[in-house]
């Protein structure tokens, strides 16, 4: 595809079970860029990820979003995925009885579209290659989807899916949580290998640690359901060194969570 991926979010307001969480988020991510959204817990970061993917519990009350110029919010969840949006989830579901490989092949074929299914042999070769790159035991292909996986294994499996599905825009929601340093490096390498003009990445994290391994182009800080500060990678370094309090003081924010303000 010649055109670069493009995600645009404008004044997005989202509520969950009647509580307003996001209160006007603006964001633009293009192919080749890695954006990081940082911020303390409870500021709405994961809500942004889930709302963009279309989780039924998250209701967009205002604002718009486009994927490659198309109205993202008008699409069903599976349609968003087929158009190239990917969300590596913080808590991936377990689906007993469905093997990882079978699931991935179905997902990949759904993404490629009818009549363009991947030949079985080619699929398995690709899968083995990607699993090896992520340091995953080959047995994971035949294990049931996420069932009995450790936290780290689930995260790796998310990156494996991303590598196989080759999305245009990938959102990584707290992909670093619960990972030890070795696993973190493997996951980061997996993401870095995919970087390129064909992929835009949005990383959600509240630790700077991950950003030492996946160097972002843009860093956004979220508080009270809004992006309150954006900058280059040096912003992440500054937060690493000084924490969030100085920023809160500068902005006159006492409670950074979304709950305080409505």
């Amino acid at each position: 595809m010649a055109n670069r991926p493009w995600l645009k979010v404008e004044q997005l307001h989202v509520s969950v079970e009647g509580t307003d969480i996001l209160k006007g988020v603006d964001l633009e991510v293009r192919g080749g860029e890695v954006h990081a959204i940082m911020g303390p817990n409870g500021t709405g970061k994961s809500t942004l990820a889930s709302a963009l993917m279309g989780h039924p519990k998250y209701e967009v009350t205002e604002g718009r979003a486009w994927l490659d110029g198309e109205d993202l919010l008008a699409m069903k969840v599976d349609e968003r995925a087929r158009k190239g949006l990917f969300l590596a989830m913080q808590y991936p579901s377990e689906v007993p009885g469905v093997s990882n490989a079978n699931f991935l092949r179905l997902a990949l074929n759904a993404r490629r579209g009818e009549g363009n299914e991947i030949p079985v042999l080619q699929f398995h070769r690709q899968l083995q290659k990607q699993m090896a790159a992520l340091d995953m035991d080959p047995s994971f292909a035949e294990r049931y989807l996420n069932e009995g996986f450790s936290g780290g294994e689930k995260k790796r499996n998310e990156i494996l899916q991303m590598a196989m599905l080759k999305p245009r825009i990938a959102i990584l929601d707290e992909i670093d949580s619960g990972l030890d340093i070795d696993a973190l490096k493997v996951v980061a390498k997996g993401v870095n290998d995919l970087r390129g003009p064909e992929l835009g990445v949005l990383i959600i994290t509240h630790y700077q640690r991950l950003l030492q391994y996946i160097i972002p182009d843009r860093v956004h800080v979220m508080m009270q359901g809004r992006i309150v500060r954006s900058g280059g990678r040096e912003l992440a370094e500054e937060l690493e060194a000084r924490g969030y309090d100085w920023l809160k003081q500068e902005l006159g924010i006492e409670d950074h969570t979304v709950a305080s303000q409505s």
Partner: protein, 436 residues
């Protein structure tokens, strides 16, 4: 009387029916005694199944003309659900009457005997007379009595001692003629050290404007010491059908009976399956897959009765309720006094796929002996929306995501079915029901 004309059942009708089939006197008397028991017994009560309200007294018998026409008179289609006899040994029933028998080598030599049950009652009087009603007694309840009086699609299989038949035998019941109730009666005697694999299918399709078929079946299976029997059943009847089934085996010393049961479709069905583990060291497993669609009502009882010492049983049942279907699973493990060293397990899981679907799991352990192992697990739940969201977030459409989850839920049972052909048929049926 023309084919299909209704006729109220009474004692005279039972007598006439026996005569038309040229049944021996003892069998006629057995039917009549069963009829009397039917008239005497109170209507059975089953919690959670309104089926009992249906008047079984209104059962219609085929006229003599229809009986004379028999199965050869009509268009004999292969059973859809079983994919036809396809060169395997089979008894194919088109409605009531004698079956079309197709017997290959393993069922014609080494003393193996297969015949329509009425014929067998003449030709093999001793063994049939002794076995018939010995596992499921006519007087057990009103329905068993009625079935014993009126069975009209009978089959007898006898495997002599030491003869091990590897090829599966197919008993296929095609139930398309709504005016005729189909009452399959299956009697299987497997002697010491012998073995048999049996596949039984019930299928039918809706006939426009018809009141629907009534089916009542009893299968009895006697397994001698060290014998082995595997029974697979597949039921796929339409929404207009009403059915009542008991399939029960009795296992002697060290005998094995393994069940693979698939209940699909939209019918109202009350069914009981199980094994009496009479001899020491005998064992029985049951794998059950149920998938209810439309307004299906399946009331399934799995019953393992431990009578002998060191007997083993394992029930693994999974059911999926779609649309407005209603599934009831009762798993009963009975351990009688003296059955020391018994090992009985049961696990039932039910999944409701739509807001209108209902499901109930009723596990029961009835234990009258101390030195035993027994456990049960039961779960009833709805499909998890997070799982659907997760699969959809990878580009899989909602309906396909549901299918995947259902298949994943049933696969652990289907995977353990030892008969490859049955396993594949079940997979195909599940697939078809899920993609309507």
């Amino acid at each position: 009387m023309t084919v299909g004309q209704a006729m109220r059942v009474d004692r005279a009708a039972v007598e006439r029916w026996a005569q038309e089939r040229k049944e021996p006197r003892w069998l006629r008397e057995w039917r009549l005694a069963s009829w009397e028991a039917y008239e005497r017994l109170p209507a059975p009560k089953l919690e959670r199944s309104d089926l009992v309200k249906r008047g079984f007294g209104e059962v219609r018998l085929p006229s003599s003309a229809a009986a004379a026409a028999g199965p050869d008179g009509g268009d004999r289609k292969g059973p859809e659900v079983a994919g036809g006899a396809n060169g395997q040994s089979a008894a194919v029933f088109s409605g009531a009457g004698a079956p079309a028998l197709e017997l290959q080598g393993s069922f014609t030599n080494r003393g193996v005997y297969v015949a329509d049950l009425s014929t067998a009652a003449r030709e093999r009087e001793n063994v049939v007379r002794q076995a018939l009603g010995s596992v499921v007694s006519p007087g057990e309840n009103k329905w068993t009595a009625l079935q014993s009086a009126l069975w009209n699609a009978g089959l007898f299989i006898h495997v002599p001692a030491g003869v091990r038949v590897k090829m599966p035998f197919l008993a296929a019941y095609r139930m398309d003629e709504p005016e005729m109730p189909v009452f399959p009666r299956l009697l299987v005697v497997v002697e010491d050290g012998a073995s048999l694999t049996l596949v039984e299918t019930w299928s039918g399709s809706d006939v426009e404007g018809s009141p629907g078929v009534t089916a009542a079946g009893i299968a009895e299976c006697l397994v001698g010491a060290g014998g082995e029997v595997r029974v697979a059943t597949l039921q796929d009847l339409p929404g207009t059908a009403t059915g009542f089934v008991i399939r029960r085996a009795r296992a002697d010393q060290d005998a094995r009976v393994d069940w693979a049961i698939g209940e699909m479709g939209e019918a109202r069905l009350v069914a009981e399956y199980g094994t009496e583990l009479a001899g020491p060291g005998s064992g029985s497993d049951a794998k059950v897959v149920a998938l209810g669609t439309g307004r299906a009502h399946f009331d399934l009882t799995l019953r393992m009765v431990h009578r002998g010492r060191f007997t083993q049983s394992d029930i693994l049942a999974r059911g999926v309720a779609l649309d407005r279907s209603d599934l009831v699973f009762r798993a009963v493990t009975v351990i009688e006094k003296g059955a020391v060293g018994t090992d009985g397990h049961q696990a039932e899981g039910l999944l409701m796929l739509s807001p209108g679907a209902r499901a109930n799991a009723i596990p029961m352990l009835l234990i009258d002996e101390n030195d035993v192992k027994a456990d049960h697990a039961a779960s009833v739940g709805k499909i998890n929306p997070e799982q659907i969201y997760y699969l959809m977030s990878r580009g899989i459409a909602e309906e396909e995501a549901k299918r995947l989850i259902v298949r994943g839920f049933l696969d652990p049972v289907i995977d353990r079915i030892p008969l490859v052909g049955v396993k594949e048929q079940m997979e195909r049926l599940v697939e078809r029901k899920m993609s309507r």
